[in-house]
């Protein structure tokens, strides 16, 4: 996997360090973490043990409150549902809160192809959308951009602006305010949903999610199948666990709980509320050995604490999800050609330690590595196993390795063909193989 370099690497290191520091400050007492973890897991496990029942209740409650629920088997179906609603609402423009599920569906190109202007309203998403780039980090989509770059981008699209954070934010606000007020449809993600009351939680730090869900006459909330929990008190638990895990905060700046559209007596608020529930392979995942990934809250703890993610960055994981959770989820949702991601981990165990849901991410990466492969994957390791498990063969191999390693070390590094071995040697000196083994055949006492 390639490494981030230069300024982007520094930005990545600083951003993740800031999030790690926040987490350490606000949510690091192991007993507290464990207590949250147990209750949150219990809630999710109850839901996942009978998702059909709970989703039925969720749908029933949402519809009783005047909302509509749509189940989508895959991304294509979900996109069609969203597009239909937008068309019926006569939307020429939609505003959107940050949603990883919509990124997964690749919703924006579908809407744009239908002539609908999509405006991302999370400041970071707004910036990467203008730049035509994918989000860099699930919490900080534009964390790799300098204020100079952002000022240049804004100046090109809107009006000249100084590269000062306050001025940039003011301009973004001016642009977005107009869009919030004129859009016919607002689209948000869903952080969690309570089945017993039909309530969804939309958690943001900028208030943009609340604008999207209250100003336009139609609100579409898109959620992955796994985001539901049984009860409203579980929703409270997740609403406070998520910001704790991400930022060490007991609550986010904006927590919206939404049950259906605005009431008839309300002076404002959306007249229509649609909840789109996306499966896209999730019920298949639930049946298989990687079901535990469905507990993921998308808090990004595993990204921020992963030595590989913090070195390589999000885009190198090849799809919208990155870090350890992405390395597990991407092959499940996108197919076996992403299996190599399982090897992009030192299995150091830090992600499991930091996960607010206690997901065994390294265990699942290890399991993925064990999936059957070709003859190369079979024969070479078997040969290695024979050498390692027979004392005589092992000693012979060491005797042969002694001159071989010395000769290889004398060979200039550039003489090796490009590939992993050359790359390995660029960073290390080969060890010297001593003449004698540490373990002596006569046994016991060392000479």
């Amino acid at each position: 996997m390639p490494i981030e370099a230069g300024r982007r690497a520094r930005a990545l290191a600083e951003f993740t360090a800031r999030l790690r520091a926040l987490r350490a400050k606000g949510f690091s007492d192991p007993r507290e973490v464990e207590a949250f973890r147990r209750r949150a897991r219990a809630a999710k496990l109850e839901y996942l043990s009978r998702p059909g029942y709970w989703l039925g209740r969720l749908a029933e409650r949402v519809e009783a409150a005047g909302g509509r629920v749509h189940f989508a088997d895959d991304a294509g179906e979900a996109n069609r549902i969203v597009l239909d609603i937008c068309r019926r609402a006569g939307a020429g423009q939609v505003v959107k809160g940050k949603s990883m599920t919509c990124e997964e569906m690749e919703l924006n190109p579908v809407l744009e192809a239908a002539g609908i202007q999509v405006s991302e309203t999370d400041l970071g998403e707004f910036i990467v959308q203008l730049a035509g780039e994918p989000p860099f980090h699930i919490l900080g989509p534009a964390m790799h951009k300098t204020r100079q770059e952002i000022a240049e981008l804004f100046s090109r699209h809107f009006e000249p602006v100084d590269p000062e954070p306050a001025a940039l934010t003011r301009l973004a606000r001016k642009v977005l305010r107009r869009r919030f007020l004129s859009a016919r449809v607002g689209i948000t993600g869903v952080n969690a949903a309570a089945c017993d009351t039909g309530t969804i939680a939309v958690i943001t730090n900028e208030g943009n999610g609340r604008f999207c869900s209250t100003l336009p006459p139609v609100h579409i909330a898109v959620m992955g199948l796994e985001k539901a929990v049984p009860t409203l008190s579980d929703l409270a638990l997740i609403s406070t666990l998520l910001p704790r895990a991400s930022l060490g905060w007991p609550l986010s700046a904006y927590v919206s709980w939404i049950s259906g559209p605005a009431g008839r007596s309300a002076g404002a608020g959306p007249r229509e509320f649609h909840l789109v529930i996306l499966d896209n392979g999730r019920s298949r995942i639930l049946e298989g050995p990687y079901w535990e990934i469905l507990l993921c809250l998308r808090c990004a703890s595993c990204l921020n604490h992963c030595p590989v993610y913090t070195t390589c960055g999000g885009p190198n994981y090849g799809w919208v999800y990155s870090g350890p959770m992405g390395a597990v989820l991407t092959p499940l949702l996108r197919g076996r050609e992403h299996d190599h991601l399982a090897h992009a981990s030192t299995l150091c165990g830090r992600c499991r330690q930091m996960c607010p849901m206690g997901i065994d991410l390294p265990g699942m990466l290890l399991r993925r590595r064990q999936e059957p492969g070709g003859a190369f994957k079979y024969l070479l390791p078997r040969l290695g196993a024979e050498i390692l498990s027979r004392r005589g063969l092992f000693e012979t191999a060491c005797r042969l390795a002694r001159p071989a390693a010395a000769a290889l070390e004398r060979l200039p590094r550039e003489a090796l063909p490009p590939g992993p071995w050359r790359a390995w040697r660029m960073g290390r000196r080969l060890p010297r193989v001593p003449r004698e083994r540490a373990v002596k055949p006569e046994g016991g006492e060392e000479s």
């Binding site: 390692l388 092992f394 540490a438």
Partner: protein, 266 residues
């Protein structure tokens, strides 16, 4: 330590018990020490002898298969696991200078051998009595301080390996022992960060691994330490090879060497 049930008949290759109250520790050197790091093996024996024990190196011992397991090669890992259990047949106490290898023996071996119930049973017994060196000293023997052991350097720092400190959950033993030495142990910044070895990871992702290696060396250097102590043979070899390539002046010393005195430090 009284023999565990069903263990008596297996003492086929056990040397006669020594006079002290602990069974003779069988040292699981690990394949890396066996092939490349004899000094770490000598240090481990020296540390145990200094406690009045009579360690021995089971002569037919082999690798535990951790690297094959982590690379995802289950049949190969099983093959090595079987050989390991055979090689340590009858051992009443096993001590190893490598946390990740001990973690593999304790956590993976019994499960790997589950197709062979008798081997799995023996693996469970062996796993329960396999200890990482510093854990063995501090947790089992109750050693609080090591007297007469010189400091690894006037100023040194310690990298807590993921194998010992996460997989085995240790948070005290090596610190307690190192802090009893003269010289000053300096806190390593971002100590919990992996050094980038990861077994097969170092081969599949050599650049990322080397970058993490460089970060770890830089963090150690930033403390002003002359010596970086590492307690896992994989991480130790990885950091040593990287330090040699970079012309690093700071020395990398294995935990067993830091805890040994006299000729054991070699």
């Amino acid at each position: 330590m009284p023999p565990l049930p069903g263990e008596g008949e297996e003492k086929v290759k056990m040397p006669p018990p020594a006079s002290n109250r602990y069974p003779r520790p069988a040292v699981f050197a690990t394949c890396l020490v066996d092939a490349l790091l004899p000094a770490v093996g000598r240090a481990t024996l020296a540390v145990l002898r200094a406690r009045g024990l009579e360690p021995w190196l089971p002569p037919r011992q082999v690798c535990c298969g951790q690297a094959l397991y982590k690379a995802g090669h289950l049949p190969a890992a099983r093959r090595v696991a079987r050989a390991w259990v055979e090689a340590f047949r009858g051992a009443e106490l096993i001590v190893s200078p490598s946390g990740s290898c001990v973690a593999h023996v304790r956590h993976a071996l019994p499960e790997l051998l589950s197709p062979w119930p008798e081997l799995a049973r023996r693996a469970r017994l062996l796993a329960a009595r396999t200890w990482e060196l510093s854990q063995f000293l501090h947790r089992l023997l109750g050693v609080e301080g090591l007297e007469g052991v010189p400091a690894p350097a006037e100023r040194f720092t310690y990298h807590p390996s993921c194998g010992l400190h996460r997989a085995l959950g240790e948070d005290e033993a090596p610190y307690r022992l190192l802090d009893s030495l003269p010289g000053r142990r300096l806190e390593l910044p971002r100590a919990e960060q992996c050094c980038g070895f990861g077994g097969p990871f170092a081969v599949t992702h050599p650049e990322v691994s080397a970058r993490l290696l460089g970060d770890k060396l830089a963090a150690a250097r930033s403390t002003g330490a002359e010596v970086l102590v590492v307690g896992d043979v994989g991480c130790f070899l990885h950091l040593s090879c990287g330090a040699a390539r970079r012309g690093e002046t700071m020395r990398i010393v294995h935990l067993a060497q830091a805890l040994a005195r006299g000729e054991g430090r070699g």
